[in-house]
Structures are given as structure tokens and as C-alpha cells.
């Protein structure tokens, strides 16, 4: 189809679809007037049952923990997929040639940027740990924490030390982190099957509401997700950046 024909077809079809969507969405309760029995029931039940104060986290890591399990494995599958798609091919050199540290400096990184990154790293790490641990209490949780934690090593990269990044976060370790996180989440659920009656059922003491280790298995799940997400994002980023270096070498 020509570009014009394609756009013409879409013009008709798209306005049709827009009409269908608008007609359908018009049946929704007006914005702000939602009743939501499921949510209300959860709001009422959850603090008493599991001693969690962030209802979203409670849903995420307990009531609907199985969705989160699926979600974690979507992430895992995607990272595995990216590794598969960006793998080094036989005709593109197997062994990276040995080079001095300087060769892997990020060209645009000035000393000031490096210093900034160095200051940033501990901040990011502590924020990440805080988020992961306080998931059941305040906004945040394993996923957000994972991305923040992964940003720490990324800052090292921006600070211009690719090899340093490799030393702080070697590929095998990041890969293992990703796998262990995913595995841990699935395995914690198994605890429910063994010590309680159903998969992903809580089998840990609930603790005091508002305290760090409250919410039963929620903090554990949150940490598992945190590990996986840290690994996943780091792997994806380095996968994309790794190939960069490979191509750069090809140019020379």
C-alpha cells in the first residue's frame, strides 16, 4: 500500500475506532464517582488482616501476589529476550580485546560529572534500600527500589568507568541477581504451599502494624522483586551499552 493509501485507510478506520471507544467509555461511571466494592472491601480488610498500611503494596504482594509473580516473569523473559537478541555473534568477534581502563571512559564525562555521580551513588543505594524495605508501609516497593538501585551502578558508568562498572557489577553477578530475585519470589510462594494451605499464602508472623517487618511475607516478596528488578534493568542497560562497545571496536 502507498503511504497515502495507508493514511487514508487509517483516517477512516481510526475515526471509527475513536467513535467506538468514546461510545463504550461513555458507559463508565463519571470520573470521581466510582463505587468499587472490591477496593473498599480490601481497604477495610487488609490493615487488620496483614498489618500493612500501604494497601497498594498489600494487593501487590499478597492479595494479588500471583499477578506480580507473572509480572516478574514477564520482566525476566524480556531481559532474557534482550540478552538473546543482542548476543554477540560469531562473526562479530568473540573475545573483547584487552584494553586499558582509559579506553572505556565515557567520552563526555568531565571530572565534575564524575564527582557528582560519586555523590549520587550512595544516595541512590540508600534510597533504593529504603524503598524496598518500607514497601508495606509507605509508597514504593520492590519494583521502584529495583530501578533506583540499578541506577547506582549506572551512575558509575556515567562517571566514565565502564570497566569499574564491570568490576562493581560483573555480568555473571547481575545475571545471577536477576535469576535469584525471580526464583526467590516463586520460592517464597512455595513456602505458603508447604507451611500454610495454598500457594503464595502468608506463612510468616504479621508483626506490628507500621513497623519495618510487618505485613508477613510482604517485605520478603518486596525484596525479591527488588533484587530481580535491579538485575533486570542493569542487564538490559549493559546489554544495550555492551553492544555499543562492540560496534565501536568494529569501526576501528
Amino acid at each position: 500500500m502507498s503511504r497515502r493509501g495507508r493514511l487514508l485507510l487509517f483516517g477512516c478506520a481510526g475515526s471509527g475506532l475513536l467513535a467506538v471507544l468514546v461510545i463504550g467509555l461513555h458507559g463508565l461511571p463519571p470520573f470521581g464517582d466510582f463505587h468499587g466494592a472490591y477496593g473498599l472491601l480490601v481497604d477495610r480488610l487488609e490493615p487488620g488482616r496483614r498489618h500493612a498500611t500501604d494497601i497498594v503494596t498489600a494487593l501487590n504482594f499478597d492479595l494479588r501476589a500471583f499477578d506480580t509473580l507473572g509480572e516478574e516473569f514477564i520482566l525476566f523473559a524480556s531481559v532474557t529476550g534482550v540478552a538473546l537478541l543482542l548476543r554477540h555473534l560469531r562473526d562479530e568477534e568473540d573475545e573483547p580485546p584487552r584494553r586499558s581502563v582509559d579506553d572505556h571512559r565515557f567520552a563526555g564525562a568531565s571530572d565534575a560529572l564524575r564527582l557528582l555521580s560519586l555523590i549520587l551513588i550512595p544516595l541512590l543505594v540508600s534510597l533504593g534500600v529504603y524503598l524496598a524495605l518500607h514497601g508495606a508501609l509507605t509508597p514504593g516497593g520492590g519494583f521502584q527500589a529495583g530501578v533506583v538501585l540499578a541506577a547506582g551502578p549506572l551512575a558509575i558508568l556515567l562517571a566514565g568507568r565502564y570497566l569499574a562498572l564491570k568490576r562493581v557489577a560483573p555480568h555473571w553477578a547481575v545475571e545471577a541477581l536477576d535469576g535469584i530475585g525471580a526464583l526467590a519470589y516463586a520460592a517464597i510462594g512455595l513456602g505458603g504451599l508447604i507451611f500454610a494451605s495454598a500457594y503464595l499464602e502468608n506463612f510468616l508472623p504479621l508483626g506490628t502494624s507500621g513497623h519495618l517487618l510487618s505485613g508477613g511475607m510482604m517485605p520478603l516478596n518486596s525484596i525479591a522483586v527488588g533484587l530481580e528488578v535491579t538485575g533486570a534493568f542493569l542487564l538490559t542497560w549493559t546489554e544495550f551499552l555492551d553492544q555499543d562497545l562492540l560496534v565501536a571496536r568494529g569501526e576501528l
Binding site: 541506577a151 549506572l154 538490559t236 553492544q243 555499543d244
Partner: protein, 89 residues
């Protein structure tokens, strides 16, 4: 709907529409991160702090890094290819 929500919604629509109509991928990436921030703002005023935080870390760190790395790589392939062709002549 409060005024803040209306503003946030408008910003989201404007940024989202802008992404589609910009043709330069680099500028598009920039607008995409702005889009991510407007979404974060909207989620925040819709009383969804967990989601806002998630969107913030993904939209302003996670995705832009991947997109920029991908764009850089595409640019490098392109320049490598050009050089290759010049050498060939």
C-alpha cells in the same frame, strides 16, 4: 475534577500528541521523558503515589537510557556503514 488534575491531564494529552508528531527520534526521546513526567504528575494528583513513583523511575531513568543507547547504536552502525562504503570506493 480539580484544576490541578485538569492541567495535568491537558499536559499529558499535549505531550502524548507531540510525541507522535515529532519526527526526529532524539527530540522525540526528550519529549517522551517530559511525557513521563507529566504522567507522573497526573498519577500524583490522582492520589496514586505508588504508581507515580513507578512511572517516575521507569519514565525518567529506565526507558530513556535504553532509548538513548539504542539511538546511539543505530547512529554508530550508520556511520560505520558509511565509512565502510567510502573505503570500498
Amino acid at each position: 475534577m480539580t484544576a490541578l488534575q485538569a492541567v495535568a491531564l491537558l499536559l499529558v494529552v499535549a505531550a502524548g500528541t507531540a510525541i507522535v508528531f515529532i519526527s526526529d527520534p532524539l527530540r522525540q526521546t526528550l519529549v517522551l521523558s517530559i511525557f513521563g513526567l507529566t504522567l507522573t504528575l497526573l498519577f500524583f494528583v490522582l492520589q496514586a503515589p505508588d504508581v507515580a513513583l513507578s512511572q517516575l523511575v521507569v519514565g525518567s531513568v529506565g526507558m530513556p537510557v535504553i532509548i538513548l543507547a539504542a539511538l546511539r547504536k543505530i547512529a554508530q552502525h550508520a556511520s560505520a556503514r558509511e565509512r565502510h562504503e567510502e573505503d570500498g570506493e
